[in-house]
């Protein structure tokens, strides 16, 4: 703490908020949220059936995991997201880097990719169900379609932003074209690719829930649709909380991965 004893205003124009203040503010906004929720449900302002009390939601979340095998649904959902996302990355990253490095490759694929980007992935659900039945394939396909075209475009744009001087430096050091792509362009763009993947993983979760709500008997989304049939609003809300928690978890994991992979981006000076 600084030795400055003058009291500072709470709202300082464009001055960073202290650690304490940020923690206080973060807890505060959530306390208000749950406060309103508890108040509304305990005073009967809202229908108990439609908006169950938060303590009831947390109790049924525990019950879902402890007694009713919800962990299995969660694992299925996670593996769908990661499986489809990994396949999308395996195609999108090399293709995006090539498109960003070679205008000739961009000229081939860009007209195709950018058209597909404007087709909403969920509009493919009926045809995917007819092609692939109700197994895992249509869900994976929906996630794949939903993610890949955006990811290709993001990776391509980031690759184009690799500075020309880096490419020219490598060329004047005697590098061949393939060496420039592998040893300069790719490592230079990799931190941005990981950020793009982090953004697209969040989108993959969105499509997963759509797929599971529309056509699935397993997974988090399917559990929520079952709960709806039995008017179990507490379980629906549990599903939402779990999806949110998983999204946050994966986001933090990606942030940690980024820090671990790219130690040189940390400024120490």
């Amino acid at each position: 703490m600084s030795s400055d004893t003058r009291s500072k205003p709470f709202f300082r124009l464009r001055q960073p908020a202290g650690r304490k203040q940020r923690l206080f503010s973060a807890l505060g906004i959530w306390a208000i949220f749950f406060g309103v929720w508890v108040f509304a449900s305990s005073t009967g302002m809202v229908n108990e059936l439609l908006v169950p009390a938060p303590q009831k939601v947390f109790a049924s979340t525990y019950d879902l995991f402890a007694a009713r095998g919800f962990a299995g649904d969660v694992l299925i959902s996670i593996s769908r997201v990661l499986g489809a996302f990994a396949m999308a990355c395996l195609v999108a990253v090399p293709l995006g880097v090539m498109m960003g490095s070679f205008p000739a490759v961009e000229a081939i694929f860009a007209p195709f990719v950018s058209a597909w980007r404007y087709l909403p992935a969920p509009s493919f659900i009926p045809i995917l169900l007819m092609w692939f039945g109700t197994g895992e394939a249509p869900k994976l396909a929906l996630l794949f379609i939903g993610v890949i075209f955006f990811l290709i475009t993001l990776v391509m744009d980031h690759t184009k932003n690799v500075r020309e001087e880096l490419v020219e430096t490598a060329l004047t050091l005697g590098a061949r074209r393939s060496t420039v792509v592998m040893k300069v362009i790719f490592p230079a763009v990799l931190p941005d690719i990981v950020i793009a993947m982090r953004q697209m993983l969040a989108m993959a979760w969105t499509y997963l829930v759509i797929a599971e709500i529309v056509a699935s008997t397993t997974g988090i989304g399917a559990m929520m649709m079952r709960a709806r049939r039995f008017l179990k609003t507490d379980e629906i809300l549990s599903g939402i909380i779990v999806i949110g928690a998983l999204g946050l978890l994966f986001d933090l994991a990606f942030a940690a991965l980024h820090r671990w992979m790219f130690p040189y981006l940390r400024k120490t000076r």
Partner: protein, 264 residues
């Protein structure tokens, strides 16, 4: 200086396509030689095409007509024999200083042990011995340019091409870097071609100044700074105090001013 030329610029012109299907003539019929082991400075106002000439030497641009010859052969694309240092920082941020300096040798198949040794030597030469394990992002601007210079030299080029290499540095760092280049030139016998618009830098570094006029770039005058009597002097203060320094600076100022008048 002997008349042994390593680079020959022969009637080189370069025009660029601009909007509306027109062509902009950037470099107009320039010819000059760069002697082996010399420091040649390309000087001129902005728009004189000096960077374009340098880029044609590097093989990053192709002359519209004429040719750049190195060792008697026409330049056809970039190559290991002509290393280039840019004004913008070009350190590979994901590699340590040591690995940056090894980069050229690595892609050209120099064995690991030799690579390490040469990299250590050149890292030491540019005064970064203590920082070989640091990442470029941990270094100052001047130190990053040292990395770029060491990386280029370690690759063993015959000619070191530099495009306003110290333009982004503050005054005192620029001065130190200029003295470093005299030291490097003496120790490595590398031919250098330096593009600058800084008169002091030109006079201090040059064995020969090639002055280009602007719009389009034409060769205006080749100037040998006689007052240095063919010596390389690594102390800038010393050079500034020599008889004849002021006269040459005044002469270059006059040339610059004439060009500026055309441009403005």
């Amino acid at each position: 200086m002997t008349a042994d030329s390593i680079l020959e610029i022969r009637n080189v012109s370069k025009s660029f396509d601009i909007a509306g299907g027109k062509k902009l003539l950037a470099v107009d019929d320039i010819s000059f030689d760069v002697e082996r082991n010399s420091i040649c400075v390309l000087l001129g106002p902005s728009g004189c095409g000096k960077s374009t000439v340098l880029r044609m030497m590097a093989g990053l641009e192709t002359p519209t007509s004429g040719a750049v010859m190195i060792g008697g052969h026409a330049v056809d694309g970039p190559g290991q024999d002509r290393g280039m240092v840019f004004q913008a920082y070009t350190s590979f941020d994901w590699l340590s200083v040591q690995k940056n300096v090894e980069f050229g040798m690595k892609i050209n198949g120099v064995p690991a042990a030799e690579r390490r040794e040469r990299a250590a030597h050149f890292t030491e030469l540019v005064g970064l011995g203590k920082f070989s394990e640091a990442y470029p992002s941990q270094l100052s601007g001047g130190m990053r340019q040292r990395v770029a210079i060491a990386r280029t030299l370690a690759n063993g080029p015959e000619v070191l091409l530099m495009d306003e290499p110290f333009g982004a540095l503050d005054a005192e760092t620029r001065w130190l870097m200029q003295e470093l280049m005299i030291d490097v030139a003496e120790k490595t016998n590398t031919t250098m071609v330096v593009v600058t618009h800084d008169l002091e830098e030109a006079i201090f570094l040059a064995d020969k100044i090639v002055f280009l006029s602007s719009h389009p770039g034409r060769l205006k005058e080749e100037i040998v700074p006689d007052f240095k009597q063919g010596r390389r002097i690594g102390d800038k203060e010393h050079v500034v105090k020599l008889d004849g320094y002021g006269n040459l600076e005044a002469h270059l100022m006059r040339l610059m001013r004439e060009e500026g008048r055309h441009a403005a």
